[in-house]
């Protein structure tokens, strides 16, 4: 009798314990910069500590092969519950059926607080649902060395309206090149190699001229990617390199902030930390120049965002974690570390880096006026791969039209092979 009771008691207690056992979810994160890694790890630890219903297991995967790993996992059916994804890959992931809409969890006031670019990045056009939300958006502008700019007598713009025109920009490059300390006036981060940077960093050049990677209504690349405007944009890039104004790919990463042999750095927000450390008060942020006719400028946008996979057995628990990540305090901690634009207006208001007049405010201004998202299209992997290879050949001196034309044909061939990525292109 006593034995039966005690056995029953143990069973009951363990059942109760099981019922309250936290739900385990796996979260994949691309390993960004070390400063970001520290913050994300802290997020996970604090989330696990402050409540008992959900337990997060963080898996970090190096950024270079992150998207490929996600694809391999998707193919094998072994995706995690939550993953972060590079904005432009969202359409391809949704097309493959790997993400679930976040709409059931979103309230109107939450949506209203997000930047329109974040909402646009995460919305899948065919059904208009939101599949990914980012904690931050990216900023792309030109970092400058104030000391060199003043020495060369170059005007430093203070706002997006005030940006350099193409003539001013090239004059500035010429004058900076004449300084004895400057070996190459402009660092375009060619050392990043063939990859997403070429598309993110340089498609704004062709977009400033009115060109684009692909026609976003007919989803055809030929005629747009190899059209006159795009060819003009890339010819300009090739011209800057031929003039010897650009840091070579093999010269390493730190020509701007380490060796100080470059006066300008055309790179995104993620270099805020190293640049601040290397240049201190000499660091300035200059808006993207108005390269195009009619003084048109363009900048890149889009960055990493969080989504819940269709394989997840605990979408509610997954949302709890994402909701925590998207709180303004957490967003601020991350953007203070990586210099990115906070995704929520309430966070921007609280951010010391984004006050009106603060240095990084240029990013926020640009996001309101001149950003052009990379195409939200399931065929984006081929678009970016083909364009990046074309850019690499153009940098090495190949004929601009030939390379862009080859890339356009490749993209169109891929779209044809995928029957236009239904329901797009119909």
């Amino acid at each position: 009798m006593l034995r039966t009771l005690s056995v029953l008691g143990v069973v009951l207690v363990s059942l109760v314990g099981l019922a309250q056992a936290p739900i385990e979810i796996t979260v994949w994160w691309h390993t960004g910069h070390p400063s970001e890694l520290a913050v994300i790890t802290a997020f996970v630890e604090e989330f696990n500590a402050k409540q008992n219903e959900v337990r997060v297991k963080l898996v970090t995967i190096p950024e270079a092969e992150y998207t490929a790993q996600v694809r391999a996992a998707g193919l094998a059916g072994k995706l995690p519950d939550v993953l972060d994804l590079d904005g432009p890959t969202m359409a391809n992931f949704v097309w493959n059926g790997w993400l679930i809409p976040l709409d059931p969890y979103l309230t109107d006031e939450l949506l209203a607080d997000f930047l329109p670019s974040i909402i646009a990045q995460g919305t899948y056009p065919p059904d208009g649902k939101i599949y990914a939300l980012g904690q931050f958006d990216s900023g792309l502008a030109i970092w400058g060395n104030r000391e060199y700019l003043e020495k060369a007598g170059v005007r430093i713009p203070t706002s997006v309206d005030d940006a350099w025109t193409l003539a001013e920009f090239e004059d500035a490059l010429r004058q900076l090149a004449a300084l004895p300390e400057v070996k190459w006036p402009l660092d375009l981060k060619l050392n990043y190699g063939v990859g997403e940077w070429f598309t993110y960093g340089f498609s704004p050049i062709i977009q400033a001229f009115g060109g684009d990677l692909i026609d976003r209504t007919t989803w055809k690349a030929e005629g747009t990617l190899d059209g006159a405007a795009s060819v003009l944009g890339m010819t300009l890039l090739q011209y800057w390199i031929k003039q010897g104004w650009v840091v070579p790919a093999t010269a390493g990463d730190d020509a701007f902030y380490g060796k100080k042999t470059a006066a300008l750095a055309w790179v995104g927000h993620w270099m805020y930390g190293p640049h601040k450390e290397g240049l201190g008060d000499d660091l300035v942020l200059i808006p993207m120049p108005k390269l195009g006719a009619g003084c048109r400028a363009a900048t890149g946008m889009g960055s990493w965002a969080w989504g819940i996979t269709s394989i997840s057995k605990h979408p509610d628990a997954a949302w709890k974690f994402i909701e925590y990540l998207l709180q303004p305090e957490q967003i601020l901690r991350l953007t203070n570390a990586n210099g990115a634009v906070p995704a929520r207006k309430s966070a921007i208001a609280m951010s010391p880096l984004y006050k009106p007049g603060a240095m990084l405010d240029i990013y926020a201004q640009q996001l309101e006026t001149i950003p052009i998202p990379r195409p939200v299209f399931p065929g984006y992997p081929t678009i970016t791969s083909a364009f990046a290879e074309a850019v690499q050949n153009i940098i090495a001196g190949a004929d601009v039209y030939e390379e862009l034309h080859k890339a356009a044909l490749k993209i169109d061939q891929d779209i044809k092979e995928n029957e236009g990525y239904p329901p797009f292109g119909k």
């Binding site: 490929a68 694809r71 998707g74 093999t250 081929t382 290879e389 690499q392 050949n393 090495a396 490749k410």
Partner: protein, 304 residues
Amino acid sequence: MIASFRKFLPAKVKEELAAWSMLSPALLLLIGFLIIPFAMAIIFSFTTKRLVSPLPTRFVGLDNYVRLFADPAFWQALRNNAVFAGIVVPIQSGLGLLLATLVNRKIPGRNVFRGIYFMPVVIPMVVVCVAWYFVLTYPEGLLNTFVKILTFGKAGPYDWLRAPSLALPTIILISIWQGVGFQMVIYLAGLQSIPEELYEASRIDGASAWQQFIHVTLPCLRNTHIFVLVTTTILAFKLFTQVEVLTQGGPRGGTNTVVRYIYVAGYRELRIGYASAAAVIFVLTVLVVSVLQRILVKEEREAL
């Protein structure tokens, strides 16, 4: 029950059964990881198979092959592979033989030298590439500074990895540096199997060191030569890591190789069908080259 059944089998069958059961693990692995994937690749090469896609795969016949042969980038990659193999195989094998004869002599500390020459082989190629990247930095990397000192500043800094005429030679240099220890070890084993009496006999006949090398060492190493030739050729055709990490196939496809071409088409552009076609052609090419090598070397043997 089976054990008692085996008693009644003839000895020959028992032997064969034992042989097959000992072969089976290796055979299963080979079939599972080599034969089946290759058969799948052949099948995929006639379809529009994608790495990931909700669309059904369609059979398109020789479409992929037609497009492959019409792509100048593929021919350029094949050409690069041929040039690379044509230079690396003789030089790396020759250097391997030279180093092997050096460390085969009874000098003090020869094991230390053997270790030093072999060390690059055990370092993963990606690590080798990253280390060499810093050596080759332009314009003030280690190598450029070295050249500047040696030529008193007359020879300008070279962009080793981006200048069209220097990129492939630089890749060749790095590959030889990393791999020569492998050939050295194989030749060392071959050298140690040459009986000492042959050398004594040749010395008695008045042969100089050079004549001993040509008429005793080289002929006795015939089998080692064949092995080194075939394996180094196959390894040379597999060139991928160096060109992906250091030059990404540039400049303008000047260091692109077939394996990298397959990787970009299949894994980055997600076109598995097309990449499989390239892979099939690649395997056939390497097969033809290896078979040719075996035939030619065999003929030499018989002529003697």
